[in-house]
C-alpha cells in the first residue's frame, strides 16, 4: 500500500528518479545497500538524516564515493542527492517506507494509580480548590485541658509557623493555656513520597487525608515531654494534583513554651515550611492513594508508555487491586450508600460494584461482562456479600478492560462516544473519564467535531491537565533524569540542596505561568527576561528580593535572560560539578529545543579536565577536543549553542570573565539549511527557537508523545505538518495545540 504510493510519487518525476537511482545503484549501493540500509563491513550505518538536498549534494560532490571522489560530482551529485533524499534518507521518506503502527498499550503506573484514585473519588465527588491559599486557623483559650474553651478568632494562616509567645497576632490569648486547629487541603505538586514533620514543645495531632479525623492521626504528638521542643515525622505517598485534606490540632496547657512549625519534604525537595501555594482553605474528601510499588515503565523512546508485561508488573497490579479493595472496604458502606444491617445492603453492594466496573472500563458493561464481573460473583455469594463484592472489585481492577484502554470499543470493535471520552481523559489527565464526560458519552454528545472540541476544551481546564503538562516540561527539559545537581562546595559556596530545590520550583512556576496565561505563547518560553525568585534565590543570585515569602517573577542582575535557555536550573543541570559544559548544554538544546538531528558520536571521547593546561578557558578546551573533522559534523551545531551560554557559570550565575579572560560567546552556527548564522548569545538562540520550524516540530513531537504516548507518524505522514500549521496559525498557542493533538487522535476520526 505505502510502497505503491512511493512508486506513484516517483512516476511524477520519472527522468529524475531514473537518473538519480541509476547513479546510486552504480556508485553507492555496494557500500550503502539498495535502500540505504547499510552493508556490513562496508558502511553499516543506515543513510538516514535531516540534511537538506543541497547539503547532501555538496557533501557527495566533495567526498563520495570514497574510493573515487570525482566519479559523482556537480549535476550528478545533485540528482543522486534528490533521489536519496526522497527515497529513504529524509524522515519523510522513512515515514513512508516504514509506516509506524500504533502501539497496543496498557496503562502506565501513573495512569493506573491515578485511575484507581479517580474511580473511588467519583463516588465521593471531586474537591474543587479555590484561590484562597493557606489553612483556616481557629484559636481558643482553654480553661481546662479537656473541655471548655473560649473561641478567640478565625483567620487564614498562609503557613504554619507560629510562636505563641511572640507575634502570634491572636488578641486575648491566654499564654498558658490555649488551643487551635487548622483545616484545609494540600495540593501535591508531584507524585511521590512526601515527608512531613511537626516541631513543637506542645501537643499536636496531624491528620492527613482523613477528612473526618476520626481514625488515628497521621502524626501524633499529642503528649508533650517536659514542654521540650521535639520534632515528629511521618511520610505519605501522594499523587500530583490530587488534593488531600489536612486537619491539625494544637494544644498548650500549662506550658512555658508554645509554638508550632509544620514542614514538608516533597519529592526532589528539601525540608521547608509547607508553602502557602500548595495549601488551600477548601476541604477535600478522602482520597484512595495506592502505595503499592510498580516496576518503572518503558521510556526507551524518550517517553513513558505501558508497552511491556512482566511478572513484577502483574504482581503490582494484583497487589494494587488488593490494596484498593482493602481501602475501599474501610468505608464500603459510605461508598455504597448503605448501612451494615440494611436489608437491601446486598443489592447496594452489587450496584456499587457494577458502577465501579462501569467507571473503570469507562463504558457500560456488555451482557457478558455483567455476568462475569457482577452477576456470577454475587449469585454464589452464599450470604457473604462482602467477599463477593471484594471479588468483583479485584476482578475489575485486574481486568483487561481496565488495564488496556485501547480495548474501549463497542460490540463490533468500533470506537464510539465512550471511546472518545476515555481518550480525552487518558491523554489530558492520565485518568478515567469523569462524570461529565461519561454523561456526554451516554447521551451521544461526543458525536460531532464541535461537541468533541468543546469537551476537550473543558477537560483542559481541569486541574489534572496542569499536572500532566508539568510532567511534559520535565520530560522535554530532561529534568526527570537530573537528580544530582550538587556542585563543588568550595567553588560554589552556599549552592546547597535548598537552592536546588528552589530552582526546580522556579522553573515549574515559570512554565506553568507561560502555559496557563491567556496567550499561552510558546515563544515566551524563550523570551522571558525575568526569573521566578523567592528570597533565598534572590539573595543567592544577587537579585532584588520579592516582598512576600513566595516566588515572584523578578529581573536578574544581568538583565540578559532568555527564558528556559538561561534558567539557572537548566544551566546548572547541564554543567559539570566544577564548571560549565558547553557540550551538554549544546547537545540537549540542539536536540530537544532546536530540533536538530544529531547522530551519536562516532567515537566516545571523555572530557578530562586534567588533560588540559589549567589556564585554558572552557571554550578553548572544547574547541580543541572536538576539532577533528568527524567530530565537527555535529559539533559545528553543538559548540556554537554551548558557547553562546558561556556567560553563565555552572550554577547559572552571570559572568563576563573566565580565568581572567573575557568570555567570547560569538560563533558561526550551521543551520539545517546549511547556511551559517552568527550566534552571539541566548537572544540569538531564542530567535532560532521562535523562528525555526525544526524547533517548533521538536517541541510538538515531544508534546505529542507525552500526551498521546504513540509515535506521531502512527497518525499519518502529514500529521506533523498539519499540527505545525495549526501551531503557527494560532500564534504558537500551547493550549490550542494540545486541544488539536487530542482532537486529531480521537479514535473515532480514524
Amino acid at each position: 500500500m505505502h510502497h505503491w504510493i512511493f512508486l506513484g510519487l516517483l512516476t511524477v518525476l520519472p527522468a529524475l528518479g531514473n537518473r538519480g537511482a541509476k547513479i546510486y545503484t552504480q556508485h553507492c549501493a555496494s557500500c550503502h545497500g539498495d535502500q540505504g540500509e547499510g552493508v556490513a563491513d562496508e558502511y553499516d550505518e543506515a543513510l538516514v538524516g535531516k540534511k537538506s538536498v543541497e547539503s547532501l549534494a555538496k557533501y557527495i560532490h566533495r567526498t563520495m564515493p570514497e574510493d573515487d571522489e570525482d566519479a559523482v560530482i556537480d549535476e550528478d551529485a545533485r540528482l543522486v542527492s534528490e533521489y536519496i533524499h526522497s527515497a529513504f534518507y529524509s524522515p519523510e521518506a522513512q515515514a513512508k517506507l516504514k509506516p509506524v503502527r500504533r502501539d497496543f498499550l496498557r496503562r502506565t503506573q501513573h495512569q493506573h494509580r491515578r485511575a484507581i484514585t479517580d474511580i473511588v473519588q467519583s463516588f465521593r465527588g471531586r474537591a474543587w480548590m479555590g484561590e484562597e491559599h493557606g489553612l483556616r486557623g481557629h484559636y481558643f483559650n482553654k480553661e481546662k485541658m479537656n473541655n471548655r474553651k473560649k473561641a478567640l478568632i478565625k483567620r487564614v494562616d498562609p503557613v504554619i509557623d507560629i510562636d505563641f509567645r511572640q507575634n502570634h497576632g491572636v488578641e486575648g490569648l491566654n499564654p498558658d493555656a490555649h488551643s487551635a486547629f487548622w483545616t484545609g487541603s494540600i495540593l501535591p505538586p508531584e507524585t511521590g513520597t512526601y515527608g512531613f514533620r511537626m516541631t513543637s514543645p506542645n501537643g499536636v495531632r496531624f491528620y492527613l487525608n482523613e477528612p473526618d479525623h476520626g481514625k488515628s492521626p497521621f502524626i501524633d504528638a499529642w503528649v508533650s515531654s517536659g514542654n521540650q521542643k521535639r520534632t515528629v515525622e511521618g511520610t505519605s505517598f501522594l499523587i500530583a494534583g490530587h488534593p488531600v485534606s489536612v486537619f491539625i490540632e494544637f494544644v498548650c496547657y500549662k506550658g512555658k513554651q508554645s509554638s508550632l512549625l509544620i514542614e514538608w519534604k516533597p519529592p526532589h525537595g528539601t525540608w521547608e515550611t509547607i508553602p502557602s501555594r500548595v495549601l488551600h482553605t477548601d476541604g477535600s474528601p478522602e482520597a484512595v492513594l495506592i502505595s503499592t510499588p510498580f516496576p518503572p515503565d518503558d521510556a526507551s523512546l524518550g517517553y513513558e508508555r505501558g508497552s511491556s508485561i512482566s511478572e513484577a508488573w502483574k504482581e503490582a497490579v494484583v497487589n494494587a487491586a488488593i490494596e484498593a479493595t482493602e481501602i475501599i472496604f474501610d468505608d464500603i458502606d459510605e461508598l455504597a450508600r448503605t448501612k451494615p444491617e440494611q436489608s437491601d445492603r446486598p443489592e447496594k453492594l452489587k450496584k456499587f460494584c457494577a458502577d465501579f466496573s462501569y467507571r473503570a472500563f469507562s463504558r457500560p458493561l456488555t451482557a457478558e461482562q455483567k455476568k462475569t464481573y457482577i452477576e456470577d460473583v454475587f449469585a454464589y455469594a452464599d450470604g457473604d456479600f462482602d467477599t463477593a463484592a471484594k471479588r468483583s472489585l479485584m476482578l475489575t481492577l485486574t481486568s483487561p478492560y481496565f488495564l488496556y484502554p485501547s480495548l474501549n470499543r463497542d460490540q463490533n470493535g468500533q470506537p464510539d462516544n465512550y471511546t472518545t471520552a476515555a481518550h480525552i481523559a487518558l491523554t489530558l489527565w492520565d485518568s478515567i473519564p469523569d462524570k461529565r464526560l461519561l454523561e456526554a458519552a451516554s447521551k451521544g454528545e461526543l458525536s460531532n467535531d464541535k461537541q468533541i472540541t468543546d469537551s476537550i476544551w473543558s477537560s483542559v481546564a481541569d486541574a489534572r491537565s496542569k499536572f500532566k503538562l508539568k510532567g511534559f516540561f520535565h520530560h522535554w527539559l530532561n529534568l526527570s533524569e537530573k537528580e544530582d545537581l550538587d556542585k563543588d562546595p568550595n567553588l560554589f559556596p552556599g549552592f546547597d540542596e535548598h537552592i536546588i530545590s528552589d530552582l526546580r520550583t522556579s522553573l515549574d512556576l515559570f512554565v506553568n505561568d507561560v502555559v496557563w496565561s491567556e496567550e499561552s505563547d510558546y515563544r515566551r518560553l524563550f523570551s522571558e527576561d525575568r526569573v521566578y525568585l523567592n528570597r533565598r534565590l534572590a539573595d543567592f543570585y544577587g537579585a532584588q528580593a520579592p516582598e512576600g515569602n513566595e516566588f515572584e517573577p523578578l529581573p536578574t542582575p544581568d538583565k540578559k535572560r532568555a527564558g528556559i535557555f538561561t534558567h539557572p536550573f537548566v544551566l546548572t543541570a547541564f554543567s559539570y560539578h566544577k564548571q560549565t559544559s558547553p557540550i551538554h548544554r549544546g547537545v540537549y538544546l540542539s536536540r530537544n529545543v532546536l530540533g536538530r538531528f544529531l547522530k551519536p558520536p562516532p567515537n566516545a571521547i571523555e572530557f578530562k579536565d586534567a588533560d588540559f593546561k589549567p589556564d585554558l578557558t572552557m571554550r578553548e578546551k572544547v574547541t580543541h577536543l572536538t576539532k577533528d573533522e568527524n567530530c565537527m559534523a555535529c559539533h559545528s551545531i553543538i559548540n556554537p549553542v554551548g558557547f553562546s551560554l558561556e556567560n553563565y557559570d555552572a550554577i547559572g550565575r552571570f559572568r563576563t570573565h573566565e580565568k581572567d579572560k573575557p568570555i567570547n560567546t560569538v560563533s558561526e552556527y550551521l543551520t539545517p539549511e546549511d547556511t551559517t548564522v552568527k550566534i552571539t548569545g541566548p537572544s540569538d538562540l531564542a530567535k532560532l527557537a521562535v523562528e525555526s520550524p525544526g524547533a517548533h516540530r521538536a517541541f510538538l513531537k515531544h508534546l505529542f508523545h507525552h500526551l498521546i504516548q504513540q509515535p506521531i507518524n502512527a497518525y499519518g505522514y502529514g500529521q506533523m505538518d498539519q499540527l505545525h500549521g495549526i501551531f503557527t496559525n494560532s500564534n504558537f498557542h500551547i493550549r490550542k495545540i494540545i486541544v488539536a493533538m487530542v482532537e486529531e487522535t480521537v479514535p473515532i476520526k480514524e
Binding site: R101, F104, R106, K144, M145, N146, N202, G203, G214, K215, S216, P217, D220, W222, V223, S224, S225, G226, N227, V251, C252, Y253, K254, G255, S307, S308, I309, E311, K314, V318, N319, A321, I322, T325, E326, P340, E368, T372, Y373, D376, V377, A379, Y380, D382, D384, D386, T387, K390, R391, M394, L395, T398, S399, P400, Y401, Y404, S406, L407, G413
Partner: protein
C-alpha cells in the same frame, strides 16, 4: 444450573478457602529444642471489686464470684494480694497506674492533665515486656520473627498515657494493634486478600482469552504474555495449597466483623486466636493483650450494661446496682482470661512435653486496685500457667509490696536475670517470691 460447589471450583477455590501461603513456612520458625517459655500480659481497666475478687484463704477460685471462670485452672493459678504501684511523680493515678504498670518508672512532666494531680507526659523508661523481648531477641535460640506482639481490644484511637502500657523506651509508647484484620495482615501478609483474589483468577483467564481473540495478531502478543502470567499464578497457588502448610494453620477470621464497641466479644476472640496462633507458630514469645484503656468507657451492652465502665467504677460501694454491674464486667474479663488459658491448654506444645499453657505465663493486670478510691494498692494480680503453676493458690505477699519486684520475678522466670527494673528504690528487696 451450576451448584455453588461447582462455581467455587470454577473460580479456582476448593472447599473452604484456599490457603494461599506461597512462602509461609519462612514466616515462622521451626520448633526449637529446649525449654520454650512465653509471657502474656492481659490488661483490664478501672480497678476491680475487691470483695468479689479476692478468694478465700484456701484460695478456692470457684468461691470467688469474679475468679470463678478460672476454676478449671485452679492448680495452675496464683492470686497475689498486697502488691502496690508505688511509683510517684506527675500524672493522675489512672495515668500512673497505666503507664507505670509495666515500666515501674515515673512519667515525664508533660501537657496531659488528668482529673487531679499535675499534668504529665509519657513514661520515662522501657516496659518489662519489651525489656524481656530485647533479651530474647539477642539470643538466636530464643529469637522470633516479631519478638513481641502488642494487641488491643477496643482501644480507642487516641494516644496518651491512659492508653499505652508498653514502651520501647523513654518517650516511646507502643500502640496496641486493635484491628484483627490488620493483625492478620501483619502476621500473614496479604494472604487473605490473595486468597480472595485466587477465586477470580479463572474468570480473569477466560476474559483475557476472549479479549485476545478479538485483537490483531500484532497486538495479541502482550495479552498472551499476560495470560501466561495469570496461568502461572493459578498453578503456583494450587501447588502452594497442597504443600507448605503451617504446624498451626492460619486462623480463619470471620471477614465481616465491624470494629465497633458492640462487637467487642467477637473482636476479643479473634485477637486471642491470633495471639495464640502466632505463639504456636513461634512468631513471638511475648505478648500483651490490652482490653480498652485506663478510664475506658466501654459500654458492655452484651452484658446488658448500658453505662460506661469508668463512670460505673466511680460509683460508691453502697450503690448495689453499680457494684453488681462492675462485678459482671470483671467476670467477663476473667472469662476472657479463661478462654485464653483453655485454648493454650488445648494446644500441645510442639516438640516438647505438655501443652502450651505449661510453657506460657499469663499475668492479668489492672491499673488500679479499686475504681472509686483510685487506689494503687492491692492491685488485682492473677497469674495463670507457667509461673502460676509453681505455687498456685491465694498468696498475701505483704503490705504495699512495690510492683517492681513482681516485674523482676517475671524477668527472671524468662531467664533474664536482672536485679533492678524501673526505679531502683522499689527493687531493694529483689524479686518477689511467694509460697
Amino acid at each position: 444450573m451450576t451448584s455453588r460447589r461447582q462455581f467455587l471450583q470454577k473460580l479456582g477455590i476448593t472447599g473452604a478457602a484456599l490457603p494461599f501461603l506461597s512462602s509461609l513456612p519462612s514466616f515462622a520458625g521451626g520448633p526449637t529444642a529446649g525449654n520454650k517459655k512465653r509471657l502474656i500480659f492481659m490488661f483490664s481497666p478501672n480497678g476491680t471489686v475487691p470483695t468479689k475478687f479476692w478468694p478465700d484463704k484456701e484460695g478456692n477460685l470457684a468461691n470467688s464470684p469474679i475468679l470463678a471462670p478460672l476454676a478449671p485452672f485452679q492448680g495452675q493459678t496464683a492470686v497475689l494480694k498486697g502488691i502496690s504501684n508505688r511509683v510517684g511523680g506527675d500524672g493522675d493515678r489512672h495515668m500512673r497506674g497505666m503507664s507505670c504498670l509495666l515500666t515501674g518508672a515515673r512519667l515525664h512532666p508533660g501537657n496531659i492533665q488528668g482529673g487531679s494531680d499535675s499534668p504529665a507526659g509519657w513514661a520515662s523508661a522501657i516496659s518489662i515486656d519489651q525489656e524481656i523481648k530485647n533479651f530474647l531477641q539477642k539470643n538466636e535460640a530464643t529469637h522470633t520473627r516479631f519478638g513481641s506482639l502488642e494487641i488491643g481490644v477496643a482501644v480507642p484511637e487516641r494516644a496518651d498515657p491512659w492508653t499505652r502500657m508498653c514502651y520501647a523506651g523513654s518517650n516511646q509508647p507502643l500502640a496496641p494493634l486493635d484491628d484483627p484484620y490488620q493483625m492478620l495482615n501483619k502476621l500473614y501478609g496479604r494472604s487473605k486478600g490473595r486468597q480472595t483474589y485466587a477465586s477470580v483468577l479463572d474468570s480473569l483467564g477466560s476474559d483475557l482469552k476472549r479479549v485476545s481473540k478479538s485483537l490483531a495478531a500484532e497486538d495479541r502478543a502482550m495479552l498472551e504474555q499476560h495470560m501466561t502470567l495469570v496461568r502461572e499464578m493459578e498453578r503456583k497457588m494450587e501447588v502452594a495449597a497442597k504443600a507448605g502448610e503451617l504446624v498451626h494453620p492460619e486462623p480463619e477470621l470471620d471477614p465481616n466483623i465491624e470494629l465497633v464497641n458492640d462487637n467487642t466479644p467477637q473482636i476479643a476472640r479473634m485477637q486471642m486466636d491470633l495471639l495464640i496462633n502466632a505463639m504456636a507458630n513461634d512468631m513471638t514469645r511475648i505478648g500483651s493483650l490490652q482490653f480498652m484503656r485506663s478510664v475506658g468507657q466501654a459500654r458492655m451492652r452484651w452484658l446488658d450494661i448500658n453505662e460506661g465502665h469508668h463512670s460505673l467504677s466511680h460509683e460508691p460501694d453502697k450503690n448495689n446496682d453499680a457494684q453488681a454491674k462492675l462485678e459482671k464486667i470483671n467476670v467477663w474479663f476473667a472469662e476472657q482470661l479463661a478462654y485464653l488459658a483453655q485454648k493454650l491448654h488445648d494446644t500441645p506444645e510442639a516438640g516438647q512435653d505438655g501443652n502450651m499453657l505449661d510453657h506460657t505465663t499469663i499475668v492479668w493486670v489492672n491499673e488500679l486496685g479499686k475504681g472509686n478510691s483510685h487506689t494503687l494498692d492491692d492491685l488485682p494480680i492473677v497469674i495463670v500457667g507457667g509461673e502460676g503453676s509453681k505455687n498456685p493458690g491465694f498468696h498475701n505477699v505483704g503490705q504495699k509490696v512495690p510492683h517492681n519486684r513482681l516485674l523482676l520475678t517475671l524477668a527472671q522466670s524468662m531467664g533474664h536475670n536482672i536485679e533492678t527494673f524501673g526505679e531502683k528504690k522499689w527493687c531493694q528487696e529483689g524479686a518477689l517470691k511467694w509460697s
